[in-house]
């Protein structure tokens, strides 16, 4: 087995185990790690949405970014680049977040939910694969967001610095930040443990190139299952962990921070998968790329944050009670927006403008 694959399995296995540990130490069930949920909590913690149950400056996210940042510095892989359809990436991040908050989780949490026995997540994962498949059709027909070019080195430090700022606010607790008194946002592992877990996951994700969407994409596209080993390792480790902890409860109804509306679980993740494949990776991968100096990915994260703010301020996000009608409309509009972006960024359309590359 290659070194890269062992690294990937080690990374996936560690993330699966850490996710179960974080839940045991206080994080919401089946939410040891969730990029979408934690970005949503941070959005609320900063006051950009006012949904009281989901506000907290989750240290796992800045920890992950800083871990990946330090790993990329240590390996001299840090490189500031950007300029690949940046605003379009913001919109794709925004729409992906709407889809994920209708499903209630990112691709990573979908795997963790399944490992906890939540069969709604299986529906979501099938939807995710469908979205990835649609995205691949567009990639095959020439879809591209164009090339990123080198930028001044300092620009790449802004995103890790922003994340360090979130940590400062977490510890300083100024009056303007919000911490949930009840609900998922109030359920949290001890700060330093969550931060350490984030750092570890960040280093491992950076070294292994772990990507949830990439795994499905490469299997369908190139018959290459490499990245799926990471996916599989997360699932197996979290499943074993849940069995040991007695927190494996198979079924559809009554699953933690989840709803049973299959159609919207499916379509929400279709939207997330389609947008992510056009972006070149899942939210986890975007965080890592942002940490490595990709300023387009940093803007994508801002798009995810903006999507979370809108989803909760305008009642689009799902809850265990189900998906509001406004959220259903938002997913349909999101699919239409991603379709439009996918159509206009094919070469037949692009060649009329600036020629790129060769």
């Amino acid at each position: 087995m290659s070194k890269q694959r062992m690294l990937l399995i080690a990374a996936g296995g560690s993330i699966g185990v850490l996710a179960v540990v974080l839940v045991a130490l206080g994080n919401p069930a089946n939410m040891g790690y969730c990029i979408a949920c934690f970005l949503r909590d941070i959005t609320g913690g900063l006051g950009f949405h006012r949904a009281a149950p989901v506000q907290y400056l989750r240290p796992e996210i800045p920890g992950l970014v800083l871990g990946a940042f330090l790993a990329s510095l240590a390996t001299r892989e840090f490189k500031t680049v950007g300029g690949s359809s940046t605003f379009t990436r913001f919109i794709l991040g925004f729409t992906a977040m709407i889809g994920m908050l209708v499903f209630l989780g990112c691709p990573l949490r979908a795997v963790l939910r399944l490992a906890g026995g939540d069969l709604n997540a299986a529906v979501g994962l099938v939807g995710l694969a469908a979205g990835v498949y649609i995205g691949i059709i567009f990639l095959k027909s020439g879809f591209t967001l164009g090339r990123a070019v080198p930028q001044s080195q300092g620009n790449g430090y802004l995103f890790p610095a922003l994340m360090a700022g979130v940590l400062v606010l977490l510890f300083a607790k100024p009056a303007f930040v919000f911490f949930s008194a009840e609900g998922p946002g109030s359920m949290k592992a001890p700060v330093l443990i969550a931060l350490a877990a984030g750092l570890v996951v960040g280093v491992l994700a950076q070294r292994s190139r772990l990507c949830m969407v990439g795994g499905i994409r490469d299997l369908i596209f190139f018959r290459d299952g490499h990245l799926l080993y990471g996916f599989g390792a997360i699932f197996v480790a979290a499943l074993l962990g849940n069995l040991v902890m007695g927190s494996f409860n198979p079924g559809f109804a009554g699953q933690p921070v989840a709803h049973t509306d299959g159609l919207w679980n499916f379509l929400g993740m279709t939207l997330a998968g389609w947008a992510s494949v056009l972006l070149g990776g899942c939210p986890l991968r975007q965080l890592v790329a942002g940490a490595e100096g990709n300023t387009d990915s940093a803007v994508t994260i801002l798009g995810l944050l903006a999507g979370a703010a809108v989803a909760h301020n305008f009642g689009l996000a799902a809850s265990p009670q189900g998906v509001p009608v406004a959220g259903q409309v938002a997913v349909i509009l999101g699919l239409a927006a991603v379709f439009a972006i996918a159509v206009v960024n094919r070469p037949a359309v692009v060649t009329g403008g600036v020629s790129i590359g060769k």
Partner: protein, 70 residues
């Protein structure tokens, strides 16, 4: 010159896709691939090696040059 792939500044899967398009149309020879990040370097290398190509990588300024031989 047909056997050159310039995938600088692109995120996966595009570098892999561009390389695959070239490799699928030839049975052997030399193909040069330019990529800008380690993920692309690893993914293109994996694709080529799975298809039986030998891969030599070198740093070229800020980018990586992959020379594929079969």
């Amino acid at each position: 010159m047909a056997n050159e792939v310039d995938a600088r500044g692109l995120l996966c899967p595009e570098p892999v896709l561009m390389t695959k398009r070239v490799l699928d149309n030839i049975t052997g020879g030399t193909v040069q691939v330019l990529v800008s990040n380690m993920a692309a370097r690893e993914n293109v290398t994996r694709l080529a090696e799975n298809k039986g190509w030998r891969v030599e990588a070198s740093q070229q300024g800020e980018d990586f040059l992959l020379v594929l031989n079969k």
